[in-house]
Every structure is written in structure tokens, then in C-alpha cells.
Symmetry: none
Subunit: 188 residues, 4 copies
């Protein structure tokens, strides 16, 4: 049996931190390896290159976020409760693991190309929920448009907190954001 990987997790942690702090392009392999306490070459045993590392991190954390949302939404029956639960789940994540949330948020546009096209995104989850609710007659409108509105409302609030335009912690906005979301949805 070969020795167990000792650099993999430190590399992931270092990369996440530095990508959030300095941006993906602003962070070099050197930086990551130094912070992880290993050689630069070690990175290449675990990921084909820097881009693959970024994509793997993004997919991993995006999937985590998506799962949280799915779990939260499935835990409630009524639309308002679903929205509140989903919002709470994400905003708590923001407070508990700010790096994960920020990474997913900040990196998304840099990756459009190199992602698998069949990756299920949080947007898909929200859009489907709204399609269901429309089918049930609870709300009206175009599912994708409602999803865009709700997600934007929800995310930009987090960005305002991120850039200091609104004071933290994030969780304090669960209630007011949920209310605004429900007004947008204009549910019966």
C-alpha cells in the first residue's frame, strides 16, 4: 500500500482561501503550495492543472450548496416555508463557512466555459420549484424569470454584505429577504 495523500486536503484549503482573497488569476501555484506546506508538483498529482483544481473546487462546493438548498426546500411543504428554509440554509452557510460561499459566488463567471454542461445548478433547483408551484396554481408567471428575480434578490443582498454595504451577520437578513421574495412571487 502506498503512503496516504498528505497534501491533498491542505492544497484544497489553501486554494480556497487564496482564491477568495486574491482571485483565481491573482493566485499562483506557488502561493497555493507554500500555504499548503508542500511542493508545487504535488498539486499536479491530484489535479491535471490549475484550471482543473478550480473547476473541481467549484463543482464540489456548488454541489454542497445545491444539496443544502434541495434539502431545505424538501423539508417544508408550503412555499413560504420553503423559501425561508432555503434562504436560511444558505445564509447560515455564509456565516459558518464564508470562504465556501464567497468562492462559489465570485468564481462563477470565470468558469462558464470549462464546466460540464450537465452540472445541475442551484438555479435549476429554484426554477423547478417555481414550475411546480405554478402547476399547482399557487403562483403565476414564467418559472425562469421568477427564479432569476428571486435568486438575484437573494444573492445581491449577500454581495452587499460581502462588500460592506450592509452590516453582517448574513443570517440577520433571512427574514426580510424571505418577505421580499414572497412579495416578488405574489403567492396566493
Amino acid at each position: 500500500m502506498a503512503r496516504p495523500p498528505k497534501a491533498r486536503e491542505p492544497l484544497k484549503i489553501a486554494a480556497l482561501e487564496l482564491f477568495v482573497e486574491q482571485g483565481v488569476h491573482g493566485t499562483g501555484i506557488r502561493d497555493i503550495a507554500k500555504h499548503a506546506g508542500c511542493s508545487e508538483a504535488a498539486l499536479y498529482r491530484h489535479w491535471a492543472n490549475k484550471e482543473a483544481l478550480v473547476a473541481a473546487l467549484y463543482i464540489e462546493h456548488l454541489t454542497e450548496v445545491r444539496s443544502r438548498i434541495e434539502t431545505a426546500l424538501a423539508s417544508q411543504d408550503e412555499l413560504g416555508a420553503k423559501m425561508q428554509a432555503g434562504c436560511a440554509a444558505c445564509y447560515l452557510l455564509y456565516d459558518e463557512q464564508p470562504l465556501v460561499f464567497r468562492f462559489v459566488l465570485l468564481v462563477q463567471h470565470e468558469l462558464a466555459k470549462s464546466l460540464p454542461t450537465d452540472l445541475r445548478m442551484p438555479q435549476d433547483v429554484i426554477t423547478e420549484i417555481f414550475a411546480q408551484q405554478i402547476a399547482l396554481g399557487r403562483i403565476t408567471g414564467e418559472p425562469a424569470l421568477l427564479a432569476a428575480a428571486v435568486i438575484g434578490l437573494f444573492l445581491e443582498t449577500a454581495i452587499f454584505v460581502l462588500y460592506g454595504r450592509l452590516p453582517g451577520p448574513m443570517s440577520r437578513y433571512v427574514e426580510p429577504v424571505t418577505k421580499m421574495v414572497m412579495r416578488v412571487l405574489d403567492a396566493k
Copy 2:
């Protein structure tokens, strides 16, 4: 009278196009010069360095967007009409000059550091409008939070169109987005 500079505009156009397509970090001086049909050194005649070019472009276009919004908002008295005018102004810009809109939208996070901190942003404009409306008793709430919600709702719709999750043109969403914005604001 001095003859007009020949390389300046082509360089700006090329830079805008390439920054949107490949990102700022992904675009090199050689790329820009080649697309502009001039030499690499020419760029340094007009801007101190690449960073200055990026900042100048961003400030110019952001200012344009902000001015459009200010003009549109000032052209109307009532809150609903203001929102509609501002939304229409921006979404028309999206359809007419998609590069400008995308540049301002996509490049913002890449630039957080290297920008003057006193730059007046569209967010400031919106936040002030809401502060005024609150002072007038037309709406209630925290101005920055309302601004975050409205801007997010408005922008994410554009991002959905950008990535093909919603069909274009952008201008078709002026009315429904305005309606959702007004529901968020819950104006009297």
C-alpha cells in the same frame, strides 16, 4: 490643432471586446494591439499601463451606465415611473451595446481592488433614491437592503438572458421586472 490620435479608439474597442470574451486577466497586450491593428507600444502612449486602461474603460462605461440611470430616474416623479424608466434605460443599453453592459457586469469582481474608492456607483444612486422615498414616506425599510434586492432582481434577469436561460431581447423584460421591483418595494 493637433491631429486626432489614431490608435486610441481602436484600442478601446478591441480591449472591450476581448475583456468581455476572455476576461481581463485572460487578455494580453498583444491580443489587444493585434485586434486594434496597431503596435503594442501604442497602448502606452494613451494609458500608463494595462491596469490604467482597464480602470479607464471601467470608469467610463460605469459612469455612462450610472448617468443613464440618473437621467432616467430624474425624468420621472413617481416611484413606479422612475423604476420603469431606469430599468428601460439599462435594458435598452443591453440590447444596443451588449459589450458595454457585459463588461460592466462581468468585470466588476475582477477589479474590486484597483478602483478608486470614491467612485460613485449605480448602487449608490439607487440607495439614495430609496432613502429619499423612505423620507417621503412612500416606502419603508432599510435603503441599502432595498437597493440590494432591487438591483439583484434586475441584474440577475440580465444574467439569465446572457447565459441563455431566458430568451432575449432584454427589453422585453422591462415591464415584468418593473412590476416585480414594485412588489418588492411595496410602495403606497
Copy 3:
């Protein structure tokens, strides 16, 4: 009795294939190990390093080729018969074990330095044969020059087949090449 090594043969086969396809310098240890279905470290259990593997492969296969030639030449008395037998032996090898032939052929220049200088080469065998024949008065000329001519004539035909300039199989050229060789030698 010790159990037989399990990785040795797969490594040799994989190395041979990859060296022929990609060149010695273009083939890495990881490539070889992956193709052989074993670990990279396994290679170092059987050879001191990559260079030693290359040299061992080359010497083994070159010796095989040389032995075939020696055996074939020794099996006949008359010069024409010798040439035909040697040619047939090699061209049959080409058809039966194309990798071996190509390896010896293509890799030789890549290796000039790292080989033992006292390695007996096919060229030496041919040169000696011609020296004998000259001593016997059957042919005239400079042995090394005749060897160069005959070997070149013989090898370049194989290279033409290798690159598709002449159709295979190689064995179809035994007779015409032998005839040309005999005309070059101008034997009595």
C-alpha cells in the same frame, strides 16, 4: 524457487510500444507504468533508471537482430545466398515483430551517446563478411564502404515501407533487394 517477477515483461512491452510511437524522450515513466498496469516505482526494481531500461531494451533487441543476421549468414556458403538469407531474416522480423524492428531503426540516433562503445553492431557483422569475401577474391572494394551501401539500400527500403512510400508486407522485397545488393557488390 523465487516467484517470477510480474511487472518486468509488461514494462518492457509498454516501453517498446511507447518508445516507437512517441520516441524515447517523448515517453515518461508514468506513461510506461500506466500502459504496463503497474506503479512507477516498479520500474526501478528492475532497472536502475530510465536510461538503463532504454539501453537494456536496445541492446537486447539489437543483439537479437544481429544474431538473426549472423545465423542467417552462417547458414549459407555462397555470397548471394548469404545476402538473401540475411535480408529474409530481417524483413521477416519486420513483418512479425514490427515494434522490434522500428525500435532498433528509429531509436539508434537518439542513443548514440549512452551506449557501450564495444557493442557489436550489425554493421560490424556485414563489414566483416565483406572483408572475408574480399580476401577470398569474390568481390573488390573497401569493406566498410560496401557495408554502408548494402545496409543503406536494405534499410531505406524498410523505411519507405514504414512511412507508406512502398506497400507492405516487407517480405515481398527480399528478392528485389537481394538482387540490387548483388549488383552493388558486383560479385564474380
Copy 4:
């Protein structure tokens, strides 16, 4: 007007020398730049990468060799005279510009892939000559096979000189090689 290129020719000369001495794989960009007295980056203004430099050098010198052969062949009417002129032209090149000849000779197999498929090779020239001579009834046989035989005979003699198996200068072999070539061709 920009400054004239000062590094291009020194880079070509250095590359040719080092490739012949140490092999293409054994020669690094560093080596080349140091020998040329310029920076490593200078190379990339003139060629896209190392491979492109190798290919450009090969094509340039191969074309030169091919032109010499074509000129020599065209300068004579009779087959024997053509062969002698072609052989003399190449062997003189070997003596005068040994680097060029060795480079073309040693590098050929490393490049099979990255070459334009429509590159006219010396082999094509020889094959066509023999096809013509066959059409004229001067010789008989398969043009490509005769070309392989003649080229191999001719080249391997040079390789023997290159590796010290035959004494130089190369030009001393013009006459005996031409005679052997004519015996191979068995011309009327």
C-alpha cells in the same frame, strides 16, 4: 520604423549547432538563447515555440538540400551524369556545411508528425527522376523501390562517415557511390 531584428539569425545559428551536437530534445531554450547572446523570450517573437523553430529550420534546410539536388539533376542529361551531379552536390554540402547536412539527416525521424504533408521531399525528386527514366526505357523496375535503394546507399555512406566508420572528407565518395548507384539502377 521599429528596430531591426538582432536576435533572429544568431538564434537560428545557435539552434542548428546545438541541435546537431546535443540533439533536439537535449537542447533547451536556455542553451539556445545563451549561445545566441539574447534572452529566452526573444525566441518566442520569431517562432511560436521550440517545435516551430525546429520545423522551420528543418523545412528551410531541407528545401535547400532539395533545391541543390534538383539543380544538379537538371544540369545533366544522361542518367549517370545526373546521379554523379546530385551526389556531388550533396556530398560537397556535407563538407562545406556539415551542420546543415547532419541536422537534416539526424532530425528527420523526430519530425514526421509536425510537418506539412505537402512538403516536397528529396525522395520525391529522386522517385520522379526514376519514373521518367523508366518511361524513357533507360531503366526498369519500380520507381519508389529504386529511389529507396539509391537514397539509402547514398545516405548510409554519409552516416558511416558521420560516425567515423569511414574516413572523410565526404567528397571522396562521390565517384565510388555513383558507380554503385549505377550498378543498382542497371541502366542501359
